[in-house]
Structures are given as structure tokens and as C-alpha cells.
Symmetry: C2
Subunit: 277 residues, 2 copies
């Protein structure tokens, strides 16, 4: 099954394009898990147990596991093993490097970790993205307009009257638009640009939309701007940090249910590959 087919099945199952970010900070774990053999893994496993029926995808950000050394890598390995097969996994790694190196990053993320999708950074150029598109059934989310304030520093600089991020969109669409593996990252903190980008790329190109919750993005505005296109709307701390006591996993579930309501799309027309909408 392709990424889009798996996405579609997950969306039908949950009724909303929710992605939960597993950016688990080992220094801020709730008391019930700090005594576990691997606290980060214990935390993630509890979150997955109470939320996997509510989300289409989990997105571990690799920074939070790499900073934990061997234990962090063990936590990531265990976390991926604990995610049910009907939930997609997105490796948020934002890698980007010259050709022979990018091949190794693609191998690490798609072969070693077996993520269904990854995030990549396009600054170094189109040749650095190519190796990630050698895996047909996966999705490659290219950074376009990120959710943070600093996204204005370079991504919005005007080139020939058009912001840099639209040049990135254009080049990637022209080169990889037909692969079935191209997606983009666009922050929920930019709803106007999100709507414009969705219009530019059409409904079938997946968007990974971070920034809802702790970063200030609004769920309802995001769903409106996305206009029913293929999307995964990510919430990290808004769900995983909803509770800090013994009931942290139940609180995460309650928060996830709330986001599902906010993100619900009553008529999930997304990715109707028959074109018969």
C-alpha cells in the first residue's frame, strides 16, 4: 500500500488528520515513568496506548532521541515497535546533505528505522533530495514554510517578486510532483499562506502541518486553509504535555479527542484518486 492509501485508511478510521508529535523531553517526564527502565520509552508507550485509535500518524523528532545517547536510541526503537501498523510513522529529521551522504540518511530513515515518511531540508539543492525519492511507497515532506518566527528570515526573502519558499515548492513540484512521494511542511502559524500553498499544489500533495497548540496555530483555521487536501496536522506538547501526574496518559487522550473534534472533516474527500468527487 502506498503512503497515500495508508493515510486514507487512517483518516477514515479517525475522522480527522491528527498527527501526534513524540518530542519527548527526558528532563520533563511525569513522575509515574521516571522510575521505569527507560523512562522515555515508558512515556511514549503509555501515550501510544491511549491515543493510537485517535491519530493517523506519530511523528517522533529525532533530536529528542539522539540527545539521549544509547538509551535514546533504544527508546526510539521501542517506540516505533509499539506503534500499531495502521498508524503512519513520520521521522522528523530535517536532513539534507550532498548526494552520497543523502543516500545514507535515506537508508538510515527508511531502511534502518523504517519510517513511512520523513522531513528533509532543501537548502542544499535538488540533487540532495533525490535519494529520498528512491523509496516508492514512502512520503518525503520537504520544508517549505516552517512554523517558527525565524521562518521569515530566509524562507520569505523575495526572489524575482516571489518568496523563496514558493521557489522551493515550484522546483520540487516540477521535479518530484509525479513521484507520488512528494509532500511539504507548512506551519499552521501561517494560515493565509497555507491556503495559497494548497491552491498552488492541488489537493493530492500531502502537507505536514506543525504548529497547532503550544506554538499558537489554530486547528479550525488550519482545516479551513487546507481545504480538504491530504494533510497531517501535528500536535506535540498540546497532547503529550496535557498532564504531568499519574493520569498523564488519560489527559493526553482527552486532549487528543479534543483536537480530533477541532480537526474533524465531516466529508473526508481527501486523496480521492479516482478523481470522482
Amino acid at each position: 500500500m502506498s503512503f497515500i492509501e495508508r493515510y486514507r485508511a487512517a483518516h477514515v478510521r479517525t475522522g480527522a488528520p491528527l498527527c501526534i508529535g513524540l518530542d519527548t523531553d527526558a528532563a520533563k517526564l511525569p513522575a509515574p515513568v521516571v522510575e521505569a527502565e527507560n523512562p522515555t520509552l515508558a512515556f511514549n508507550t503509555a501515550i501510544i496506548e491511549t491515543t493510537s485509535d485517535l491519530c493517523c500518524a506519530y511523528k517522533p523528532n529525532l533530536a529528542f532521541y539522539e540527545s539521549g545517547g544509547e538509551r535514546g536510541m533504544d527508546a526510539l526503537r521501542g517506540t516505533l515497535a509499539a506503534i500499531p501498523k495502521n498508524v503512519l510513522t513520520i521521522g522528523d529529521a530535517k536532513r539534507g546533505d550532498i548526494g552520497n551522504t543523502a543516500e545514507r540518511y535515506a537508508a538510515a530513515l527508511f531502511e534502518e528505522w523504517k519510517f513511512d515518511a520523513v522531513t528533509v531540508n532543501p537548502l542544499m539543492g535538488m540533487d540532495t533530495l533525490a535519494p529520498f525519492f528512491g523509496y516508492g511507497d514512502r512520503c518525503v515532506f520537504v520544508l517549505a514554510l516552517t512554523s517558527n518566527p525565524g521562518s521569515a528570515d530566509f524562507q520569505r526573502l523575495m526572489v524575482d517578486g516571489v518568496p523563496l519558499y514558493r521557489h522551493i515548492l515550484r522546483r520540487c513540484l516540477d521535479t518530484y510532483g509525479g513521484t507520488g512521494s512528494l509532500g511539504f511542511v507548512v506551519g499552521a502559524t501561517h494560515p493565509e499562506e497555507l491556503a495559497e500553498i494548497r491552491e498552488m499544489i492541488g489537493p493530492e500533495i500531502p502537507l505536514l502541518i506543525p504548529g497547532v497548540g503550544a506554538q499558537g496555530g489554530d486547528a479550525a483555521a488550519t482545516i479551513r486553509a487546507n481545504a480538504g487536501g491530504v494533510a497531517l496536522v501535528n500536535v506535540s506538547r498540546g497532547i503529550t504535555a496535557a498532564g504531568r501526574d499519574a493520569d498523564f496518559a488519560e489527559r493526553a487522550r482527552a486532549a487528543a479527542m479534543d483536537f480530533v473534534r477541532q480537526l474533524a472533516e465531516p466529508d473526508p474527500i481527501v486523496a480521492d484518486v479516482s478523481g470522482d468527487i
Copy 2:
């Protein structure tokens, strides 16, 4: 000792700003090490033994270790342990992510792996670089103009009559130029731009210059363009892939000696912090 002081001592020791890239591809190792318990580590250890007196720094690219899973991480750990203390270590990771995540990457690279320097990707903006500058004695090499052909795709796009990479240089100089930790990555494949960049940033800001050897950059042209500034000129495959038989480590040494000759600076005035040149 600061990064610059350690660099200076290393340069005096070797007479040339040689950095050796440890981009060890586990699938292309010479016969003598493939039977070792950890072939990548055995290879790197042999290379380090025969070349550490000739180089100022080693630069492992993390992709090559991440793609090896647990064994890859063990190889990186063992490699860093095998590098003598008077040789600098550069973690070529090209990370970049929003604030709380960038903090975790900085912790992974500077605290967990204890690299003396790292490479970072500035596309997401100045706020994403800040956490890396919280480690006073280290160096942060920001991607400016990379060595690959695709560097023209976005890095050279013109913004207000100036290429994007110069906007990146300017913003970083203005924000982090006084920290003593700022450096840039500029490919040896662009000698003209390298000379212009060196003139723009002055002699004291370190440049990491990849692309000499297999990628086509010329050692002598690089040294001329760099004009005696603080620099590390990286060679990877040109040294580590010099031999593929039982004498691979000796061949690597011979290649490294050749690059030292090509990169030799007879009067190492670099980083004379007294200003008394």
C-alpha cells in the same frame, strides 16, 4: 582552550589546515577490515593511526553512522574515542530545527558526542541557530555555499541583487559574529566566491571548506582563495579511499601527506588574535 586556540596549535603541529572526512561507507570497506567485529570502527581506527599527525581535524559525517544502526553508533563512539586529544572533531550533521528541538540537537552533538564543532543548516531561521551558540568553546559552522552542484538551486538565488548565501553570511555575522563560535561552510568548488567570502568575513572567522579531491575542488586554488584565514580544508574519499587493499591505511597516509604538501601554508599567520601580524 577555545576552538580557535586548539585550531592554531593543531595548525602549527601539521603546517597545513587539513581536515579528514570520515564518511565511512560500510558497503565499501577494504578486505582487511570486513572480518573485524565492527568493520567501520576497525577501518576508522586504522586511518586515524596513520594520519592523525598530519591533520588538524577529523570530520565524521553522521549519516554514515546512523545508517548502520546500533553498530554504526558504536563505530562513531569508538572512532571519537580513538582520535587523539590534539586533533579537533567536527560533527558534520547539518542539523536545523525549531528552538526547543535545536536545543536537543545541540545537546546531542556537543554534550552526548562531545564534538568540538558541528555543521548546521540555517534555512529555518536565526532562532533555530541560537541554541548551538550556547557552548562557548565550540565552533558552529553554518552552511553558506555548499560544494555540490545543487548549491546553485537556492543558495545562489538573488535577493535584492545579492545571492541568498550572502544574506545568510550577513545575518549570522551580525548576530553571532562576536561570539567566537561562528564559522561557515563554503565549498572548495567555488574558489572565486570563497575569496569574496573570506574578504567579507575577515581572517578570523573559521571556514570549513569541503569538496577538495573526489568532488573536484583544487587544493592550491583553495589555499589562495582563503588568503591565510582560519580554515579547515576537508578531504574525505581522496584520503580514506586512496587504497582498497591490505595497505589501505598506508595509502591513506601517503594521500594525506600529499594533501598536506598541497595545502601547506609556509607562514601560518592564521588567527593571530594579537592583531600584531
